[in-house]
Structures are given as structure tokens and as C-alpha cells.
Symmetry: C2
């Protein structure tokens, strides 16, 4: 039970939310997402992102099209589907509620007891 491990655990589910949000803003491919996540200090590696995108695709929340690249192999450009947009809305609520709940607990002062 160490900090590093807990950081991994805390990321669970939240990553999905962040990625759906990134996709919701316009068509992007995997490396774009990694760049943006890294810029926000939400480090993500390929082995995490690609399986997640596959899950989102299989659930019908996102779809993609192949686009040729001038500097390497073709890329999958993702965008949200209709169900994906509703799902993202739901996630936003869930996330906000979770923050609220956590705040309610962690902002209780020590002197209350």
C-alpha cells in the first residue's frame, strides 16, 4: 500500500471521463490525446489508452475513421456518438457528485471531535 499505487487507483474511471471530454471537442487520434493528457499532468501510457478506446468503441460511445498520415501509418480519428454524448453528461454529474462528497468529508475540521 504505497502512494504510487493509490494514484493509479484514483485514476480509475476518471481517465474515461477525461478522454470522452477530449474527444467531444473535435476529432482526434490517440497521440493527440496523450499529448493533451500529458500536458495536464495526467500521465497515460499506450497500454492504458488503446484498450480504453477499444472499450469505448465496442460500447458504441465513440466511433472512428481511418485517416492517412504524411508521416507514418494511418490514424484512427475518433469522435463521440449520440449515446457517447449522453454518457459524457452522466459522467460529468457523477464526477461532480464525487468531488462534492469527498469535499464534505475532507473539509470537516479536526476540531469537531
Amino acid at each position: 500500500m504505497n502512494l504510487e499505487n493509490t494514484q493509479v487507483q484514483m485514476r480509475k474511471g476518471i481517465l474515461e471521463y477525461c478522454i470522452l471530454h477530449i474527444i467531444s471537442r473535435g476529432e482526434v487520434y490517440a497521440s493527440d490525446m496523450i499529448d493533451e493528457l500529458t500536458a495536464a499532468r495526467m500521465i497515460v501510457v499506450e497500454g492504458t489508452l488503446y484498450p480504453l478506446l477499444t472499450r469505448l468503441k465496442n460500447s458504441g460511445l465513440v466511433e472512428y475513421k481511418w485517416v492517412e498520415s504524411k508521416s507514418g501509418p494511418p490514424r484512427k480519428y475518433y469522435k463521440l456518438t449520440e449515446p457517447g454524448q449522453s454518457f459524457l453528461q452522466g459522467l460529468t454529474e457523477t464526477w461532480n457528485e464525487l468531488i462534492h462528497s469527498t469535499r464534505q468529508i475532507t473539509e470537516k475540521s479536526t476540531t469537531n471531535v
Copy 2:
């Protein structure tokens, strides 16, 4: 891949943080914690809480003493150890950074693209 499941996933790791925080405010036993977590709508059931407390104990982050009860079997009253306090500090930082990162991503407006 449904909302309910994602809520469960998002809770991962955060629960540990919340519980350490509750314990940090004074000696409590399991039912106290469940009450407070429920009040904050961070629903937790026995099957989640007890194993978590055992993990925290085995990691040396919390310790407990048995206290007789007037209405049932004896209770384990928990409190933080020294390492537990440092760990909680670390978790607080981790959580705040995670919120910051998420905000940075989700508050980017759709019109940027």
C-alpha cells in the same frame, strides 16, 4: 460499460483517502465511518469497508484497540499512526492534483477546436 459501473470505478482509491481522513479526526469504529460516508452520499457497504480497514492496519497506517460496547459485541476503535498521517498528507496532494488535472481538461471549451 454503464454509468453505475463507472461510479464504482471512480470511487477506487478515493475511498481510502476519505476513510483515512475520517479516522484522522478522532477515534472511530466501522459503523461510525459507514454512517458518515453514507451521509456524504459516498455509499459504502461492509464488504468494502472492513477489508479496506484490514489493509490499512496491515500496512501500519492505522491501529486499533478493542472497546467494550453496551449494546453488542466489542468494537475496534481506529486511529492513525505516524506513518498514516504522512500517508494522508500524500493522498491529499495526490487528490488535489488529480482534481486540478481533470479540471484543466474538462474546462477547455468546445469552441477551441
